[in-house]
Amino acid sequence: MHYRVIHKTEYDYSESVGLSYNEARLLPRFTANQFCHATGLVIEPLPADYREHEDFFGNRVAYFSLREPHQRFVVTSTSEVQVVSQAGQLNLSQGTDWESVRLLLRQQRDPLTLEALQYALDSPFVSANAELAAYAQLSFPPGRPLLEAVHNLMERIHTDFTYDPNFTTLATPLSTVLAHRRGVCQDFAHLAIGCLRSQGLAARYVSGYIETLPPPGKEKLVGSDASHAWFSVYVPELGWMDFDPTNNQIPVDQHIIVGWGRDYGDVNPLKGVIFGGGEHELNVSVDVRNLGS
């Protein structure tokens, strides 16, 4: 499937900003199933300095700095991306059981497993703990195939938790999300990752977009008005498998990946340090157009 994504972020400040330093992770990365034709950032005011590099996780980062005094700061990222449909239906009930995967992760030293192992460790936003383990346990009976267990966990999160854009903020700890059973895609992704890590498994956070207007006959997906987030789990032999707990589905070709990391903190779409500014108003819009196959 071929998409054009336009992601516009707009800050209006009550006072002038004289200087700012920023880091944007808004340029989609290349993956086995995703090819980026054209990507680009338009920044207003014009940056005094701009440079791209790849970060620790292989994501594309744009560093820039603004020196022109401004009260309005706009970053528009436009990308044309080809998403290759992930072949066929997965047979969830086959494959390695989750306990063996946990063991493999710690015993094998091949580059792929080692690369995956880092996502089994705690990270600033997501630490494994007893509460998360207790919630996860129901999905992880002994001997259950990993994919089946993860799928079940995703379904449970989708059923047990209410999508509520007004309940949490970035600072809301996972324990609050778990206790109140509400949140947004980012919270659900973090929650699933925490559950998986508490079982000793490797899970990472994926940031991206989903199609805005559904194809005829299909329902509009939740989370299409802004950046979206889901999680991915490491399955030996198959590699990384994505799950979207917000929409209770395994992404096929409606998800466009921007980047991934241990948690939100590693793929923050737009970071910055600004001098001045006072109060601000923030507007974000995302438009994902399906340009056909």
């Binding site: 620790f56 700095s65 080692l114 950046s227 939100y264 923050n268 340090v273 500014g277 923030l282």
Partner: protein, 854 residues
């Protein structure tokens, strides 16, 4: 005890220096005999005698205190810094043994350097299984933002320090590695300077290796890492600021090495380069000697709540446009878990085991090792893999049964975050305690710096001994005592001048172009506070004198002039409402308590104590710019200030005594500034601050006392008091005898440009000074500062005495009042203009509000 040392030969040392059996002592061997390399020094100390040695120790302490050598202790309620403690008995190391230690340290530094390069490069050690991924990736010092950033030369680890102690096998062991921003080299140097002063002949005859070469190597090592395209790299020392525990050392090293001392917001990133915000605008910075913890260095890519860093710094390093020593992320090597894997890594990189042993360490992230640690917890030292608040080593043998059980649970919960380490008994060194020598456990910190041709080791180092007998834990925060470390040369070393150090004045001069704007700001305020303290004291003294004086005039007049002075005290110090309150009658009748408060209440803004505190703190923030003599005066002020805390029931007599001492110290300080400081930009700002303050103080005094016409008798009393306050009474009498006349008074205090206490003198100096400030020379008209100073100075030159003394029908001297008001306005405007033009006044940065995904 006085004969203790002379008894060595007769009684055998165990009488006077009781070494516990079975432990290794640096001075005595197992048979109680003095080791050969200690013989000379001990004989010399014996000749000196114990009382004399104690006297020399006190002398050294005094020197260090006067030089302001301090160590800030977090959470110390007694004050922010405490004097550095030096034991005059050095630790001696023989030249043969040192050779082994030196090459062992060099080898270890080379290995750690290879590990650091690998961790932020290919990470081959992880892939080969020589370093567990969990151990590395869980560590807070592993900065992912710094991945693949490398210095251009072959050394990533530029400065390195190791804590050493002698184990029971008589070999030197490495206790821990300091790889981020090792502190202590500056203290070692100060210790050495003090020791050569108090034990000069012993030092000379002992053939001690000199330290100066090490600092030359440090300089060349820092030059060598500069970006390749730079010919004369600019190096700065980056400090977290005066509240940091080792700020003294940051300032000392900056001054010794001749580099500007900067804080994060003295620097800014532009166009992919790093710049110093100096008085002359932005100046490129090529190398940072870093004393800020690495995760605090860039709020954009590292800790976003940091106020100590420079946004964009990581990007500049990534582009290779600045070299940071040590590189950001180097604290990853301070993980004690790494010690468990060093033998394997040494084998891999060097093909042989390390020469200097390390205490056996078990990382609990592995099942077998975890079991071992849990089973032997009562014999091991438990160390968290990360450093941070509340994460200090715990000695298993000191724990109760219950505590041990709790620790086992804690470790089982997060095993990868702990190591168990064998607890070694370490050797003791002779330490001077009241009345004699006592064996104390000690740790030696040695320092290395990378040069292109390899690591250079400081021949010596900083020895710290435990604060109590039998105490094993040695740390500055816990109050250890330092010692100089003497590496004895087999033959006399060619004396290299230790003090190749430029004087701070020379440094200030050579840096005049690069004087950080913050430093100029601080100097300006040092000038203001010093003068403010002085004028406060002078006025308080006059007021107290008048209060206790003998009224030889009629009571009414006397009282009126006293009240007038008291109101002036409130006005000048800004301690409102005070004597200016509407219902101040009672206060004016019994002013003692209020005067005491204005003098001594440090929490009251404007009080003398508060002003002095501000002076000392502002002065401390530019510690690197003062000569040691000037700093000694600052220390004196601080002592006086501390002295006031000891008053049980303070009274004004004590305050008068105190103020007499203070005025002398303040005079010494301004004399030093006048006579010893190069007339560079730094001095200009100091003196502008002083002149502005003296001008506004005088104006404040005159405005509260003169415009309102009073009876002749009251005015005479007032004029006399004001002359006394401004230190002009004698001068006045010489000129005008005892006729207290307003016109003569105004002539002297307002208009006479030759009188350094007059207002005209201040405005004339200000006019000169502001014309010398750095400015854009292409603009062909006067700057705002110049215009203001010119107007003030001209207004005084054009003033006519008759107009000034004329009294209007309302009973006020309107012309005088207007002139004084205008002058006050001009001086305040000038102060604001200088601040706006030369000091940084931008708002603090804030993080951009984060986006949310939905």
């Amino acid at each position: 005890m006085t004969t203790v040392l002379s008894e060595i030969k007769q009684n055998g040392p165990d009488q006077w220096y009781p070494v516990p059996p079975g432990s290794y002592d640096e001075m005595l061997n197992g048979d109680g005999q003095i080791r050969p390399h200690w013989e000379y020094a001990i004989r010399a100390l014996r000749t000196l005698g114990m009382p004399e040695l104690e006297r020399r120790g006190a002398e050294a302490a005094k020197l260090l205190r006067e030089n302001g050598v301090t160590y800030n202790v977090y959470g110390d309620p007694a004050g922010q810094s405490r004097p550095w403690q030096l034991d005059p008995v050095p630790l001696l190391v023989s030249s043969e043994e040192w050779g082994g230690i030196e090459s062992g340290l060099q080898e270890r530094a080379e290995l750690l350097n290879l590990i650091l390069a690998d961790i932020y490069g290919p990470r081959e050690l992880v892939r080969k299984g020589l370093l567990p991924l969990e151990l590395l990736y869980n560590h807070g010092g592993f900065l992912r933002a710094c991945d693949q950033i490398a210095l251009s030369g072959k050394h990533q680890l530029v400065v390195y320090a190791a804590d050493l102690a002698r184990g029971p096998d008589e070999r030197m062991w490495v206790l821990s590695d300091r790889t981020q921003a090792p502190s202590g080299a500056g203290y070692a140097l100060e210790n050495r300077v003090a020791m050569t002063r108090v034990l000069p002949s012993l030092f000379r005859d002992s053939h001690v290796h000199r330290l100066a070469l090490f600092f030359q190597s440090l300089r060349s090592g820092l030059n060598a890492i500069a970006p390749a395209t730079v010919e004369n790299p600019r190096v700065v020392v980056l400090t977290p600021g005066p509240l940091n525990e080792t700020f003294f050392e940051h300032a000392y090293l900056a001054s010794y090495l001749g580099y500007p001392l900067v804080q994060g917001d003295d620097l800014t990133v532009r166009d992919g380069y790093l710049w110093l915000k100096s008085l002359n605008g932005l100046e490129r910075v090529d190398v940072i000697l870093r004393r800020v913890d690495d995760d605090f260095c860039d709020p954009l890519e590292l800790r976003e709540d940091s106020r100590l860093g420079v946004p964009g710094l990581v990007e500049v390093a990534r582009r290779g446009n600045v070299a940071i020593a040590n590189p950001l992320g180097s604290s990853v090597l301070e993980n004690p878990g790494l010690l468990a894997f060093l033998p394997g890594i040494a084998e891999h990189f060097l093909g042989r085991p390390l020469r200097l042993p390390t205490a056996a360490t078990w990382w609990c992230g592995q099942p077998k090792e975890l079991d071992y640690v849990l089973a032997n917890l009562d014999k091991l030292v438990i160390k968290p893999t990360d450093r941070g608040p509340g994460l200090s080593p715990v000695f298993g043998h000191l724990l109760s049964r219950q505590e041990l059980a709790d620790w086992r649970d804690r470790i089982r919960l997060r095993p990868a975050f702990y190591v168990g380490q064998e607890q070694e008994g370490f050797s003791t060194v002779p330490s001077l305690v009241p009345g004699g020598l006592e064996p104390r456990h000690a740790v030696l910190r040695s320092f290395l710096v990378a040069r292109a041709d390899g690591y250079v080791v400081m021949p010596g180092g900083l020895t710290r001994s435990a604060p109590h007998k039998d105490e094993m834990l040695v740390s500055n925060q816990a109050g250890s005592i330092s010692k100089d470390t003497w590496v004895l040369a087999s033959e006399p070393e060619k004396p290299i001048e230790l003090v190749t150090r430029p004087t701070p004045e020379q440094v200030a001069a050579s840096l005049s172009g690069a004087l950080p704007s913050r430093a100029a700001d601080n100097l300006f305020w040092v000038g203001r506070y010093a003068e403010r303290a002085e004028s406060t004291i002078r006025l308080l003294r006059s007021a107290i004198k008048k209060l206790y004086g003998d009224p030889d005039h009629s009571a009414n007049e006397y009282t009126e002039s006293l009240h007038c002075l008291l109101r002036a005290v409130t006005q000048l110090t800004g301690t409102l409402p005070g004597f200016l309150a509407e219902d101040a009658q009672a206060l004016l009748r019994e002013p003692e308590a209020e005067l005491l408060s204005v003098a001594l209440d440090e929490t009251r803004i404007g009080s003398l104590a508060n002003t002095l505190r501000c002076l000392v703190q502002t002065g401390y923030a530019v510690r690197d710019l003062w000569s040691s003599d000037t700093w000694r005066v600052m220390e004196e002020l601080e002592e006086h200030l501390l002295g006031t805390k000891r008053y049980v029931q303070p009274n004004l007599w004590q305050v008068q005594d105190l103020m007499d001492q203070l005025i002398t110290s303040l005079a010494a300080f301004s004399g030093m500034a006048m006579e010893n400081m190069t007339r560079g930009n730094g001095w200009l700002f100091l003196d502008i601050g002083r002149r502005l303050e003296r001008g506004t103080s005088l104006l404040s005094l005159l405005r509260t006392t003169l415009p309102q016409q009073r009876t002749e008798a009251v005015e005479t009393l007032l004029i006399e008091a004001l002359l006394d306050t401004s230190d002009n009474l004698i001068c006045y009498r010489q000129h005008y005898r005892n006729n207290m006349e307003l016109s003569a008074f105004l002539e002297l205090l307002l208009l006479d440009e030759n009188n350094p206490r007059s207002l005209a003198y201040q405005t004339a100096r200000l006019q000169e000074h502001v014309s010398k400030l750095p400015r854009d020379k292409t603009i062909g008209r006067l700057s705002l500062e110049q215009r203001l100073a010119l107007e003030a100075s001209s207004a005084l030159r054009l003033a006519g005495m008759e107009e000034l003394t004329a009294v209007a029908e309302s009973g006020t001297r309107q012309n005088l009042d207007q002139l004084l008001a205008r002058l006050n306005y001009l001086l305040v405007a000038l102060s604001n203009a200088v601040t706006a033009a030369y000091f940084r006044h931008e708002s603090a940065p804030q993080p951009l509000a984060p986006l949310r995904t939905t």
